[in-house]
């Protein structure tokens, strides 16, 4: 493939990051009425139906939109994996950890959104108990498998910090990535509490975690990735800590 085509694809993949954020906020958060999500552990099945799924007809289409755009995260992660290659151009273990995390996180966004879409579409056709069961089950999958994204963020952080030759990402971004990834640990409490900061819509488990993930990690790395893919090939190779082959 010609270099110009490769560069165009990489730039397209870099823009998948901002597209993912905008579409997920629109579809999952706004249309899906997840600002914040309902506190399902404190709600009866009937309340979940009357106060959430049965109340907002936009949830179904919103979740289908989220299921579509969720995989844009994975496409962005593929570009990251390429940028995180070793000096000799091979995909090292950190690159593979990042890619694995990106694939699984993107799949989670898509799959869980599809499950919630099913709850929205079938809300008047199945019992409220089944709706709550599927809704809750899906949130457990979405939140309690946080280690998927923690793994990706720690890998990116370690690459940023330990690869002294790369100048694509500043060291502080790597440390922040690790810290934010590890802060997800509080999600282990989510299934068991009905009020307070560690519920699904809680101050820590929703507001802090989602916002730090978006702004302190994803937004930061998006910025530096976009900056990088518009550099000339020689500058890109230098920034990645790799010498251009003759």
């Amino acid at each position: 493939m010609e270099d110009s085509a490769t560069r165009a694809i990489e730039r397209g993949l870099a823009w998948c990051g901002p597209i993912f954020i905008v579409t997920m906020i629109t579809c999952w958060a706004v249309m899906g009425h997840n600002i914040p999500p309902p506190n399902m552990m404190a709600m009866t099945p009937e309340q979940l139906v009357s106060d959430y799924y049965g109340k907002y007809p936009s949830i179904g289409p919103g979740m289908i939109g989220a299921a579509t755009f969720g995989l844009f995260y994975t496409m962005w992660s593929c570009l990251l994996a390429k940028l995180m290659r070793e000096e000799n151009g091979s995909f090292g273990v950190l690159s593979m950890m990042e890619l694995s995390g990106g694939i699984l996180t993107g799949w989670l966004f898509a799959f869980c959104s599809a499950m919630w879409a099913a709850c929205a579409v079938l809300v008047h056709q199945v019992s409220p108990e089944i709706i709550k069961m599927v809704h809750t089950f899906t949130w457990f999958i979405f939140d309690c498998t946080y280690m998927i994204t923690t793994m990706q963020m720690v890998a990116m952080g370690l690459f940023t910090i330990l690869n002294k030759k790369q100048t694509m990402f500043p060291a502080w971004a790597g440390w922040v990535s690790i810290a934010v990834g590890l802060s997800f640990i509080a999600l282990v409490l989510m299934p068991f509490v009905t009020e307070g900061p560690f519920t699904v819509p809680g101050l820590w488990n929703f507001w802090l975690i989602f916002n730090t993930w978006i702004f302190a990690f994803f937004g930061v790395y998006n910025f530096y990735v976009l900056k990088h893919v518009y550099k000339a090939p020689e500058a890109q190779a230098r920034a990645a800590g790799r010498a251009l082959t003759a």
Binding site: I161, A171, W172, W175, V176, I178, A179, S183, I185, A186, L189, F192, V193, E195, G196, P197, F198, L203, W204, L208
Partner: protein, 207 residues
């Protein structure tokens, strides 16, 4: 024969002096960055704690009265003493004194083990009394804050043990001093955290 520049010599703290004689900062910039970010994360935890306390003052007051402040006090004294030993180990490393480094690090590790035993005893007591991280908001925050702090203690002990293991061979090397300074900075931060966790969780409740 002239000593290589990377080896600490005698009583001269050459490991932390540039050729101009200026003293370089202890540790690497990375550890200062990491510790500061950790400070920010704990600041957020503290803010969430205070926000919950404002929302549920009765629950917090009643729950705090079930914590034994003597556990907090003992843990504070242990960690402060361990910090002294780690700081002394760093001072010894700068003088190239491997035996002293190992002795102080071993004592610091012993303190870490004592803290761990104390913490586990406290947790077991709580669980035996039917108190868990999901009992109420106070206990969710109590367990989360102290368990995350405890994980920091365990990580610090791993770093200290590594330095202890390498001291015999590396004690005279500049790179070892930097490694120990990094470990020390992390360990002192763990101590610093408990300086605030102790009064917040154990002393600030109503009597």
């Amino acid at each position: 024969m002239e000593e290589p520049p990377w080896r600490v010599t005698g009583n001269c703290m050459t490991s932390d002096k540039r050729s101009s004689g200026a003293r370089t900062p202890p540790g690497t910039d990375g550890i200062w960055t990491f510790v500061f970010i950790d400070m920010i994360v704990f600041s957020l935890f503290f803010a969430v704690y205070l926000s919950e306390r404002l929302r549920l003052p009765g629950v917090f007051a009643a729950s705090q009265s079930h914590l034994d402040p003597k556990f907090g006090l003992v843990n504070a004294l242990i960690l402060l003493t361990s910090s002294l030993f780690v700081a002394e180990a760093v001072a010894a490393a700068r003088l190239g004194k491997a035996t002293l480094v190992r002795a102080r690090l071993a004592l610091a590790l012993a303190c870490g083990a004592m803290f761990s035993a104390s913490k586990l005893t406290e947790y077991v007591g709580k669980f035996a009394a039917g108190i868990t991280p999901v009992t109420n908001s106070f206990y969710s925050l109590y367990f989360l804050l102290t368990m995350i702090h405890f994980l920091h203690v365990l990580a610090g002990m791993v770093f200290i043990a590594h330095c202890l293991g390498r001291a015999r061979v590396e004690a005279g090397l500049t790179v070892f001093v930097a490694k120990l300074e990094n470990t020390g900075l992390f360990w002192h931060f763990v101590d610093l955290l408990w300086l605030f966790l102790f009064p917040l969780l154990y002393l600030a409740g109503p009597k």
